[in-house]
């Protein structure tokens, strides 16, 4: 039970939850999927495998940040610049 990586997993989950608050399809949508993804791997006990999964979660964080940035950038560009989307 007392897995040394537990803390890391919990932090990852918290960080993802925080990011999910801004998800375009809504927080509820994101939360459901997030929980499902974590529950799917709840029986994994191999530390190597857990580390791998954590790094995947961190990759998702990076992707989400990029998604939010692009979304905002495009919205601004559309509203304030005449040349339309894309650069």
């Amino acid at each position: 039970m007392a897995n040394p990586l537990r803390g890391e997993v919990v932090t990852l989950y918290k960080n993802l939850l925080f990011l999910g608050r801004e998800y375009p399809k809504g927080e509820v949508f994101f939360k459901e999927r997030l929980k499902k993804a974590f529950m799917k791997n709840k029986d994994v006990s191999d530390p190597e495998k857990i580390r791998e999964l954590i790094s995947r979660g961190e990759f998702v964080i990076k992707e989400l940040e990029a998604l939010y940035f692009l979304r905002k950038y495009r919205a601004m560009k559309q509203r304030y610049y005449e040349d339309g989307p894309g650069s």
Binding site: T11, N15, F18, P24, E65, F69, R71, Y73, M76, K77
Partner: protein, 327 residues
């Protein structure tokens, strides 16, 4: 010498929220609506943080004017890497009437008090779209300004800024201290992550009153009414080309010429003798006429065109009865 930078951050209604006008037309609904930092202020904060990472800037101070909730916005700036915050506390009622002039007076007072050399602001806020605060701050401080910056370089006491101007870029050089306002392409702001927000809670936010800064925040602008932009009309579905043509004619969206072009669409190679208000007649295919009509003769006067029969090359351009149409 490390510089001291001041960044202005504004708390605005989140860009993704659909803004609603209050029924009494005095403003927009702000209660229970998600707020966040103005995207252009984020860019200004990011630029200050990047300059700090390059060791050009020593300390960054974020200022926000408004009600208590503005501290959240300052907190976001702190999470992005700002060192400390100053919250200029105003009651919700005062904050509503706060305009660019009052804010620039506050910013100028803070800049003097904190002895900064660089003021970084967003070019405009997405709620009032004033685009005045940076310019007025520079005027009040009597400092040089670089607005719409898309690149900022500091070399000793000099600042080189690339500005986005109409149809191109302008590079200007100025002495510090200066005011810079950020345009969209200056940088890509980082995301304020949860751990960073937690760490930012240890950073200090000082609360001051405008009166402590010797600034009078009474507004000289009176808002008469705030209204929604005109609603877009619903579209209609049409079954046939004829329907479409008649509908378009009804609404006056297209000229006779394009109607004819549409009607003859089945035979795109039919050619017409086309005479624009100016210039000699020319023989064109229908799509070409449609393009010409759209392009340059609209509103210039009557146009005539006749059906051109190419089957009798010996005859000098036999035509049907001419149609006149005003574009």
């Amino acid at each position: 010498m490390a510089l001291r930078a001041l960044v202005g951050v504004k708390r605005v209604i989140d860009y993704a929220v659909k803004v609603r006008v209050k029924p009494d037309k005095t403003g927009v609904v702000t209660d229970g609506v998600k707020h966040s930092m103005n995207p252009f202020c984020e860019i200004a904060v990011e630029e200050a943080v990047r300059l700090k990472e390059k060791k050009i800037v020593g300390e960054i101070i974020a200022v926000s004017c408004g009600p208590q909730q503005c501290q959240e916005t300052i907190r976001t700036a702190l999470a992005m890497g700002v060192d400390r915050g100053i919250h200029v506390d105003l009651s919700a009622k005062d904050a509503e009437t706060l305009g660019p002039f009052q804010v620039s007076k506050i910013l100028a007072a803070v800049a003097k008090k904190e002895n900064v050399n660089l003021v970084l602001l967003g070019k405009q806020a997405i709620d009032d779209d004033c685009n005045q605060t940076g310019q007025m701050t520079a005027a009040l401080l009597d400092w040089p300004q670089a607005t719409f910056a898309s690149e900022v370089k500091v070399e000793g006491e000099k600042l080189t800024v690339v500005r986005e101007v109409d149809g191109g870029l302008e590079t200007i050089s100025m002495k510090l201290p200066a005011v810079v306002t950020a345009d969209l392409r200056l940088n890509e702001p980082r995301y304020a992550t949860l751990p960073n927000i937690m760490k930012a809670k240890k950073k200090k936010i000082e609360t001051v009153k405008p009166s402590d800064l010797g600034v009078d925040t009474t507004s000289r602008v009176h808002i008469l009414s705030v209204e929604d932009p005109p609603q877009r009309q619903a579209g209609v579905k049409v079954e046939t080309t004829e329907d479409l043509v008649s509908k378009l004619k009804e609404s006056g969206r297209i000229c006779f010429c394009s109607v004819m072009a549409l009607a003859l669409e089945k035979n795109r190679n039919t050619r017409l003798q086309f005479r624009a208000p100016t210039g000699p007649p020319s023989i064109l295919t229908i799509p070409a006429i449609a393009a010409t009509c759209a392009a340059d003769v609209r509103g210039a006067g009557p146009v005539t065109f006749r059906l051109y029969r190419p089957h009798h090359p010996s005859l000098p351009c036999r035509t049907t009865a001419g149609h006149r149409s005003r574009l």
